[in-house]
C-alpha cells in the first residue's frame, strides 16, 4: 500500500452511480493530480475517462473533486493533497457525470447565458475604439471578475447550487455583474431582470465557498452582493 515511493489513489468509476476504485501510483517529483489521472489511464486502466485541454490552468476543463474539495487538477501539486499517502479523486460536484471523472458542463454554461452573461453591444466594428478610463470605478468593478476561466470549481463548491437546481450559481452571476458594470454594455435592465428570477442572485446565502475555492482568487460572492445591492436599489426605483 501507500509508502514513500507510491501513493494509493481512489478514483470514481461509473456515472451517477458507481464506486471508488483503488490504484497504486508511483510518486514523482513534480506531479500534478492531472498527471496521476493521466498515468492511470495510460498505464494502469485504459478505460478511465476524464477531461483536460490546456494543462496550465487556462481552459478550466480539468476540475475534479480531490479529497472532497473541488480543484483544478492540472495546477494542483500532488504534495498539496496527499494525506498519509492517499488521495481520492471524484468527478466535479453539482454536474451530471458522463463517465468516471468527466462531467457534463452544459448546465453550467446554460446558466451563464441565462444570467445574461453576454455582452450587449452599443457600438459596432465600424466605430472607433472608445477611450475608457482604466481606473473608473465601474471598470474596476467589472474587471474584478473578468479573469474567470469558467472551470466550475465555485459551482461545485456551492451548497446552494447543490440544494437548488435552479440557482444560476456563482460564476454565471459574477459574469452578469461584470456585464452590468461594463460601460459598453447596452442593456443593464436585462441583466438585472435575468438575475432576479427564480434561480437568481437572491438565492445566494453568502456561503463564500466560491470565493474560498476559486483557483484564480476571484470573489463571486462580492459580485453577487453587488447584484443584490443593485437589484434592491432598483426595486424601489422601479416602483416609485
Amino acid at each position: 500500500m501507500a509508502n514513500e515511493t507510491h501513493m494509493s489513489v481512489s478514483v470514481w468509476r461509473g456515472d451517477a452511480v458507481g464506486s471508488f476504485q483503488p490504484f497504486e501510483v508511483k510518486v514523482e517529483d513534480n506531479q500534478t493530480v492531472l498527471d496521476v489521472v493521466a498515468w492511470i489511464q495510460q498505464y494502469a486502466d485504459p478505460t478511465l475517462s476524464y477531461r483536460y485541454a490546456c494543462r496550465v490552468g487556462m481552459c478550466g476543463s480539468c476540475a475534479m473533486m480531490v479529497n472532497g474539495t473541488p480543484r483544478w487538477t492540472c495546477r494542483t501539486h500532488v504534495k498539496k493533497v496527499l494525506v498519509d499517502g492517499h488521495m481520492q479523486i471524484a468527478p466535479l460536484r453539482n454536474l451530471p457525470v458522463i463517465k468516471d471523472l468527466a462531467t457534463d458542463m452544459d448546465p453550467f454554461f446554460d446558466k451563464w447565458v441565462a444570467a445574461e452573461g453576454v455582452h450587449h453591444p452599443t457600438l459596432t466594428r465600424n466605430d472607433p475604439i472608445e477611450a475608457l478610463d482604466p481606473a473608473a470605478e465601474a471598470r474596476v468593478e467589472s474587471a474584478a471578475g473578468i479573469e474567470c476561466i469558467n472551470c466550475s470549481v465555485c459551482y461545485a463548491a456551492c451548497d446552494t447550487v447543490a440544494n437548488n437546481p435552479d440557482f444560476l450559481g456563482p460564476a454565471a452571476l459574477q459574469r452578469a455583474w461584470s456585464v452590468y458594470n461594463d460601460s459598453k454594455n447596452a442593456d443593464k435592465q436585462a441583466v438585472l431582470d435575468a438575475v432576479s428570477g427564480v434561480g437568481g442572485c437572491h438565492n445566494c446565502h453568502s456561503q463564500g465557498s466560491c470565493a474560498v475555492h476559486c483557483p484564480n482568487a476571484l470573489n463571486p460572492m462580492n459580485a453577487i452582493a453587488g447584484l443584490k445591492r443593485e437589484t434592491a436599489r432598483n426595486f424601489f426605483k422601479r416602483r416609485s
Partner: protein, 113 residues
C-alpha cells in the same frame, strides 16, 4: 465522500444562521401558543405564572432569546455584507466583530439566568 470544501468561517456562519433561523421558526410558535394559552384565559394565568418560574422553562425561554440574538447578529452581518460596498478585508473584520458580539451577548444572557 468527504466534504473538505466547507471548512471555512463563512460557511459555518451560514450554517449557524440557518440552524438558528429554523430553530426560531420552530420554537416561536410554541412560545406564542404558550403565551396565548396562559394569558387569554384568566383561569390559566396562575398556573402560567408559577410555571414560568420553573428553571427549565426559563432556560428554554432564554434559549429562544439566545437564538434570537445569534440569528439577529448573523442576519445583520449578512445584510451588511450584501448591501455595504466593502472590501473583502473589511468584511472579514466585520464578520469577526459580529461573531465576537454574538459571543458577548450569549455570555451576558447566560449570566442573566
Amino acid at each position: 465522500m468527504r466534504r473538505g470544501y466547507r471548512n471555512h468561517t463563512l460557511w459555518v456562519a451560514y450554517l449557524l444562521h440557518r440552524l438558528s433561523g429554523v430553530a426560531l421558526a420552530l420554537f416561536l410558535p410554541v412560545h406564542f401558543w404558550v403565551l396565548s394559552y396562559a394569558l387569554n384565559q384568566p383561569e390559566h394565568l396562575d398556573g402560567f405564572l408559577r410555571w414560568s418560574e420553573m428553571g427549565i422553562v426559563k432556560f428554554a425561554e432564554f434559549g429562544l432569546v439566545f437564538l434570537l440574538a445569534a440569528h439577529l447578529f448573523g442576519g445583520l452581518r449578512l445584510m451588511a455584507l450584501e448591501w455595504l460596498p466593502w472590501t473583502s478585508g473589511q468584511k472579514t473584520a466585520a464578520a469577526g466583530a459580529v461573531a465576537a458580539s454574538t459571543l458577548i451577548a450569549g455570555v451576558f444572557l447566560m449570566r442573566a439566568i
